[in-house]
Point group: C2
Chain length 341, copies 2
């Protein structure tokens, strides 16, 4: 970081004003951490090479509270969320933008931590932050920091996955154990009187997806199980494809710590948000091989085959419980946990 | 709009939760207005065709206050801002994303107006809204609505413009009269005790830029004169290109109403934000022709040639005043008007 007349300690309105204080924020705090030849042009639009393929494009805003939670923070979340949305389209994530809305008075130490997390997550995922924007609003008109990321990925010509491509006979897989992000954020909120050691699973999933798609021909649907949990994404797939999905409760991976916290608070892990878990619907003949591939990754070590697609009950997800009974898994109407991402 | 059990009147936290209430917000309010085949897939990432060219990519967040002002609102601003950033890279804007952060309790009537403005501006610019995201935060944790737009444009292979390409001898043009956006927003803020009939100039500039680039070979630098006004963007060009820029005050178009309001409030129109005006630095031999082209457009009717690029005083912008004196035009340090965009 280049020395400055006086170190910036706290965000002021003028840091978002486009003048020399904005330039200082950019050159002292952001570029030294996130700089790369494309971002450093600092033009209003960045020029990217001809991709020579179809593109995937996505956007997501992040308003998680608290900003820092066990296992991650809003910066890591903002990169992983957009990287994962691209990966779920079968795309190789390449470029992301970073739009920050800061509240006047936001501590610069916290901003540095967040920007450092953006960098680390981007490096891990293999994406470049190539465009950005920072605005500042008056104290009391935001909540510390909100982040929007948009992302561009390249889609191999021969690969198509979609929530509408699940077919009867397919197997349903999940890449990891459920509910860690939601319970980590919840337990780190003040005033709830619970303390657990649960860490968020927030992670970039693109390397797992890439390896899966390279090794298996019959991957039909991919969805990361974020807001609304696994229940929400499997319902989306069931509705989009006009199929039923049947899950076996005993095969669904849930950590003992997460299950205990859910039992205590009355949550069902199927509905709790994840930020590093995705569902796969694919040809059942390749499913066991796919589980082995996923297990070869740190973020896939708890991958499991958890159910199947059927012609029965199109648009519906059902669960065969440990007791042998059958239960319908509806999507949530509202949200269990506001501001989880 | 499809009929619903009960019409949504006010935004609630669960409208951002990813469950059925989020789905209702999407299908009752957003898709009916902004829907198109790409957006309607509602996948986490949208798939775009192989562009077959270089891409321009940009992002911007919008926190303007008030949300509605003479001549526009935050929705029109969010589309035009990103469209114009793409156009200034010499790109043809194609796709935009729309990330909204809503405050709990935000009136749905206002949201409808904003979304309608997004649609109208996107149609005018010829871009498609292809990806989106909506989050809701608790009352008092935001300020009505914040919008982030990211955009993708296609860059013709043979066209390169950059703030670093201004050359001594070039002419400096401006596409319209200065200061309308800033003065419109300022005069619509409560409690300032001023009332003017000034309307914002907020407009998509891509059609003007496209026509200019088609007709003239020697366009070197383009910049829209937003935050910090014309002074800021000409200083950026002067610094990036290592040249001096000399302006003639008498040739700079400023409306009488804007000049009067600026005089009253102690502002200099050179520093006031515009949202529908851009600066052009280009080969002086084509400059008069370029002015005629710009004047053929509604948003370019006040276009003018206002100065020249020189070898003298590299990195500096100077103004020859109506009195014949010479004044240095520095960039602003802070911001005259917070939350102008």
């Amino acid at each position: 970081m280049k020395p400055s007349v006086q170190e910036i300690k706290e965000i002021r309105l003028a840091h978002g004003g486009g003048g020399t204080l904005s330039q200082r924020l950019l050159h002292e705090l952001i570029i030294p951490v996130l700089g790369n030849p494309l971002l450093n042009t600092l033009d209003d639009s960045v020029l990217l090479p001809d991709p020579g393929s179809r593109l995937a494009f996505t956007t997501d805003s992040f308003v998680v509270q608290p900003l820092f939670f066990p296992g991650g923070d809003i910066g890591r979340l903002a990169v992983c969320g957009t990287v994962n949305d691209l990966a779920m389209a079968g795309a190789v994530p390449k470029y992301i933008s970073l739009g920050m809305i800061l509240e006047e008075g936001f501590p610069v130490a916290d901003l540095k931590t967040v920007i450092g997390s953006v960098r680390a997550a981007a490096e891990e995922a293999g994406v470049l932050v190539v465009a950005g924007d920072t605005k500042v609003v008056e104290k009391g008109k935001a909540d510390g920091i909100f982040i929007n990321t948009a992302g561009i990925g390249m889609v191999p010509a021969n690969k198509t996955v979609s929530a509408s491509l699940a077919a009867p006979g397919d197997a349903v897989l999940v890449s990891g154990s459920l509910g860690r992000h939601g319970m980590a954020v919840l337990s780190s909120r003040e005033g709830l009187g619970i303390r657990t050691a649960i860490s968020s699973d927030v992670a970039p999933l693109n390397h797992l997806v890439f390896s899966l798609m390279e090794s298996c021909e019959g991957v039909h649907s991919l969805r990361d199980a974020t807001r609304g949990g696994l229940a929400a994404v499997l319902n989306e797939i069931a509705v989009s494809s006009g199929v039923g999905i049947e899950l076996d409760e005993r095969s669904i991976p849930v950590g003992e710590d997460v299950q205990a916290a859910c039992d205590l608070l009355g949550f069902d892990p199927l509905y709790v948000a994840n930020e590093g878990v995705f569902a796969v619907v694919m040809d059942q003949r390749e499913a066991d091989h796919a589980v082995q591939i996923l297990k070869g990754f740190e973020y896939g070590r708890n991958a499991a085959r958890i159910g199947r697609v059927s012609k029965e009950s199109p648009g519906r997800v059902t669960l065969r419980t440990n007791l042998g009974t059958c239960r319908i898994i509806d999507p949530l109407s509202g949200e269990q946990l506001p501001r989880i991402c």
